[in-house]
Amino acid sequence: MPRSGLTGTRIRERRTMIGRRQSDLARSVGISPSYLNLIEHNRRRIAGKLLNAIARELETEPSMLAEGAESALLEALREAADAEPDTDAELDRIDEFVGRFPGFAGLNAELWRKNQALQRAVEALSDRLAHDPFLSTSLHDVLSTVTAIRSTASILAETPDIDPEWRGRFHRNMAEDSARLADSADALARYLDDEASAELSASTPQEELDAWLGAVGYHMPDLERALPPAPEDIVDRAPQLQSRSAKALALQWLTRYRKDAEHMPLSVFREEARKAAYDPSALASRFGMDLGAVFRRLAALPASSPAETIGLVSCDGSGTLTFRKPLDGFTLPRFSAACALWPLYQALTRPMTPVRSVVEMAGPGAQRFLSYAVCQPSQPAGFDGPTILEASMLLVPAGLAGAEEGGVAVPVGTSCRICPRQSCAARREPSILSEMV
């Protein structure tokens, strides 16, 4: 069955395909035909027990009917509408738009993403021109050399009776300075050429890294081998990594990945993870590793389906997201600040205290995930240096972890601006959405 449109549209398509009448299906699952009609036209949300019952009646899996990729599409459209409030986009009919015109909706979202990427590129270039230490140093170097040449040339031109010894010294200085100026100008031109093209093709180094990791599925088979290739060779072969900063970030990631793989070999780790129901605490004990390393290793497991994908988010002491491995149903913000209720931030305030909780993402489907979070301090500069904090949050789909889907869950969102939980106590700014959960 093709996965087009939203949940309601899929239900209608599936029901029609197997020849069930709407009234018959409604009666089977204990709802009125008019309510089912609203569901099928995406006017009412559906999840949990009712979705399971309908899927059972339609002889299919709930996941085949539930929303997945559309969540990201809806978030992108909401972000676009928020950024252009004067257009009066019909946000209350956004589900209908995505359901009836998925192609145009996708086009809109893609154009919005490209527009955002271009804006980021412009900001990055402006920032580079204003603050880049290489540019600043190079400019000063070039201007100092020009100053030396200009002063020396003026002396020679304006002092016809100059002492021969001084004349010889100034001539030598000018020859050396002009050669140095040529080298400096050449290096500067090459630097600007390389960096400008790299920055324009992808907005930020972090996004280049995200694009590359997304393309390789956050898993590196080459680094699982006993004799892996050099990380530099892997980076050089990655077309998404253009800027020097992105390559440096990728090298850091690969080095860490290899170290984790050495301590937790894939074949053993995968089996142990399955047996432990993906509990990082049990795996940390089993392999004698810290929780952060186990989180990374779990997130690097190859997944055969979206339902098996394990997500991972990391942030530094300022709360800035430094690593994002997304997963279906848990949309991660690209640019804005994340939801303050994420257990990630709870862990950040309590270093070395693990936090385990079930979280429920706001929005259609209201999927649940088992989250594990921990914040680990380090002293890379020794006892006298600053304490550096890194917090990580592992997101395991509730079904994969074997966790009970019922019970109390922490209500979370993606980011305040596009979160429908209007009455959230942690809200820092108004949402553009109406209450939907």
């Binding site: 400019l139 030396a148 002396i155 001084w166 300075d177």
Partner: protein, 123 residues
């Protein structure tokens, strides 16, 4: 007795050119190239005018200027700050830390000579 000017600059060709220009006009010129020791050297030498480059190895010219303004023996010293053209923030920093004058590179010899004279005369 010749007036004394001290030049804190790490570019040898600029040092030679400025030394030639000012010496020919009767100035006693000394130069120093290490930013990290510059403030102590200036405080010890007590020149009549200081020419200070903004970007130096070891310590920036702005930090040196701030240090000098905090010492009683150099708090009123006339300082000509050399910054690079196009670096607007450098000019703002020079003013903030109390430079008497600033000049952007590249500058002309006559402009340099005239500015040093003005500073020495206390204008």
């Amino acid at each position: 007795m010749a007036k004394r000017v001290m030049l804190i600059e790490d570019e040898p060709s600029i040092i030679e050119a400025i030394r030639f220009i000012l010496s020919r006009d009767g100035w006693d010129v000394t130069a120093h190239s290490d930013g990290s020791t510059a403030a102590d050297v200036v405080a010890l030498a007590q020149p009549d005018v200081l020419i200070l480059d903004a970007m130096l190895p070891g310590r920036s010219g702005f930090e040196i200027l701030r240090d000098l303004r905090g010492r009683s023996e150099t708090s009123g010293l006339p300082v000509l700050m050399l910054t690079a053209k196009g670096q607007g923030k450098d000019r703002a920093l020079a003013e903030h830390y109390g430079a008497s004058r600033f000049m952007t590179k590249p500058f002309s010899n006559s402009e340099m000579l005239e500015t040093v004279k003005v500073l020495a005369d206390g204008a």
